[in-house]
């Protein structure tokens, strides 16, 4: 679902280490990317490219498994057979995406086990929106529709990037996300046009989630660190503000159409510039939550840690000498 991988942890000095790279190989590498070729696991690549992609794909994978938790808690509460089965299938897809993405990241040399260790130790991040609670069924529907919608905007852009295994994983993920979008939209419409209790639940959930949704694509470009080299290497494919504007263009009219309101009086499209205007999100709060001080950070990591610890004996049992770790090919 949740590729806001471009939102955090971009290196502050994007040229670090480049002076140690072989200039001929580097020029060849950049020429390949400029021609639109994909970089494959065995190909030469600068250390910074490998590091940045590993971090990005890893964060994306973490976002999928952590993101499965707030929606997953509603599987056991989903109202009626139809929703219960769909919610299960939807959340299962997200875990499947994590599996695909960990494999893609592993082609760069870091094992899944190590990535999961870094996740529970707080060394690696995941999409910040999952540090907020989902107190009602309607919150889960808002995630299914709008967070997945945001993820698609992001992932369609990244699917045109330069690293082959990540692009191929994203193509498959986007196809499934398109179904999630329909599922989420259907669930939200049902609530928004339902009984007074349902409508109130949905509006309250949307009000709760809107500030987080506005931060989903990461800080404003004005505040972003220098990413020119990452754009040139097709690691980062669209700026945060471009993605946010595209999302608002696509979804705000749909939200208004079903009679829901958004808790931002300034929100309006400037028809002259084609850009949406809105109240600037609280980026200080965003930073605070990313750095661990959000309402659900501790809970999310605790669940993941418990899963890792409780399942350790199974993984030990699987690691017989005959089954040594093999890095996936692509």
């Amino acid at each position: 679902m949740y590729g806001s991988a471009s939102t955090h942890d971009l290196p502050t000095t994007a040229t670090t280490g480049l002076e140690n790279e072989d200039p001929i190989l580097l020029a060849e590498f950049e020429a390949r990317i400029a021609r639109g070729e994909k970089i494959e696991p065995g190909d030469w690549m600068p250390a910074l490219y490998r590091k940045q992609l590993t971090r990005m794909i890893e964060q994306h994978a973490h976002s999928e498994i952590i993101g499965s938790l707030p929606e997953g808690t509603w599987i056991t509460r989903a109202p009626g057979f139809r929703r219960k089965m769909a919610q299960m299938a939807k959340v299962q897809d997200e875990v499947g995406h994590a599996q695909l993405l960990y494999s893609a990241a592993e082609t760069l040399g870091k094992t899944r086990e190590q990535m999961l260790i870094d996740l529970i130790n707080g060394k690696s991040k995941y999409s910040n929106v999952f540090n907020y609670p989902t107190p009602t069924w309607a919150d889960s529907n808002v995630i299914s529709w709008l967070i997945d919608a945001g993820a698609i905007v992001n992932q369609l852009a990244n699917a045109k990037g330069s690293y082959g295994p990540y692009c191929r994983a994203l193509d498959r993920i986007c196809a499934e996300e398109a179904f999630h979008l329909k599922y989420g939209h259907d669930a939200v419409v049902h609530m928004a046009t339902g009984t007074p209790i349902q409508r109130a639940m949905m509006q309250a959930a949307l009000n709760r989630w809107w500030p987080a949704i506005m931060t989903f694509f990461g800080p404003s470009d004005k505040m972003s660190v220098h990413t020119e080299i990452l754009m040139r290497w097709k690691v980062k494919m669209a700026s945060n503000d471009e993605c946010r504007n595209q999302f608002l263009d696509m979804y705000v009219p749909k939200i208004w159409e079903i009679g829901l309101t958004l808790p931002d009086e300034k929100l309006a499209k400037n028809e002259e510039t084609g850009r949406w205007e809105f109240t600037e999100p609280d980026w200080e709060d965003f930073k605070r939550v990313i750095n661990g001080d959000g309402p659900c950070n501790a809970e999310r990591i605790a669940v993941r840690r418990a899963a890792e610890e409780n399942g350790a004996w199974v993984r030990r049992a699987l690691l017989t000498p005959k089954t040594q770790y093999v890095r996936p090919l692509a």
Binding site: R77, G80, M85, M88, A89, Q99, G311, W313
Partner: protein, 249 residues
């Protein structure tokens, strides 16, 4: 109770409750692949229960959503095995192994039931259940022959779970008629086929099959007697549904 209703409620409630339990593995599996596998099986089981509740609905019972989401524990006919919390992976895997072998054999037998609508459903379900059993066998054999730690855990889980598994085969007053009318081969016959089937797999592991004659089956579920775990499960399941019973969710 009418023998058809009696049989169908037991089958449907087992599938619903175990499907619900299996879905709780989301995010908690020992490896991601097992999160995904348990979710697949949970979806299948939910789907199976829905088909069986639909058969009940055709026989005059309430809508599947009403039947599943508004009854309380004493009105449920599932065996107690399926309602136990997921615990750790060793227990959930062992339950899955013991239950799904019984289910596969049950639906293979039901494929020739004298009640044609059920026979039709059974012919469809048995194909899916084959994969559930295959999944369970693979893991039982893998963990049951792995490290000392894994073997010890799996043996403990087997010893704990077997008395509950015997409760799958608890009969009701309708049993003689269920058999004589050709609805189903009956629980005793199913149990003997099941025993043969699981023994064959366990023989390929380092696990010991406890002497079943020394175990007391945990019965009562078929008569609405349940563990303290079922009602909270049902309350959770119906939490949203009951917020507004007039709503279409």
């Amino acid at each position: 109770m009418d023998p058809k209703l009696d049989l169908l409620y037991r089958l449907a409630d087992d599938q619903l409750i175990l499907g619900h339990r299996n879905s709780e593995w989301n995010g908690l599996g020992p490896i991601l692949e097992e999160d995904i596998a348990f979710s697949s099986m949970a979806q299948d089981k939910l789907g199976h229960s829905l088909q069986l509740y639909n058969l009940l609905h055709n026989l005059g019972e309430a809508e599947p959503d009403t039947v599943a989401f508004t009854r309380n524990a004493p009105q449920f006919h599932c065996c107690q095995l399926v309602e136990l919390p997921i615990g750790e992976y060793d227990f959930s895997l062992t339950r899955h192994f013991l239950f799904d072998h019984a289910e596969l054999l049950r639906f293979e037998a039901l494929a020739t039931s004298s009640y044609e609508p059920l026979a039709q459903v059974a012919r469809k379900l048995r194909g899916e259940l084959k994969y559930h059993a295959l999944h369970a066998n693979t893991w039982m054999k893998r963990l049951g022959t792995a490290t000392e730690e894994a073997i010890e855990r799996m043996q403990g889980a087997l010893n704990f779970t077997l008395p509950y598994a015997l409760g799958i085969f608890e009969t009701t007053e309708a049993e003689p008629e269920i058999i004589s009318s050709g609805l189903f081969i009956g629980e005793a016959e199913l149990k003997s086929r099941w025993l043969e089937s699981i023994t064959k797999i366990l023989a390929q592991t380092a696990l010991d099959m406890p002497d079943l004659n020394l175990l007391t089956p945990v019965n009562g579920g078929r008569y609405g007697q349940h563990t303290e775990h079922l009602q909270p499960l049902l309350d959770e399941m119906a939490e949203v549904f009951r917020l507004d019973p007039t709503a279409d969710w």
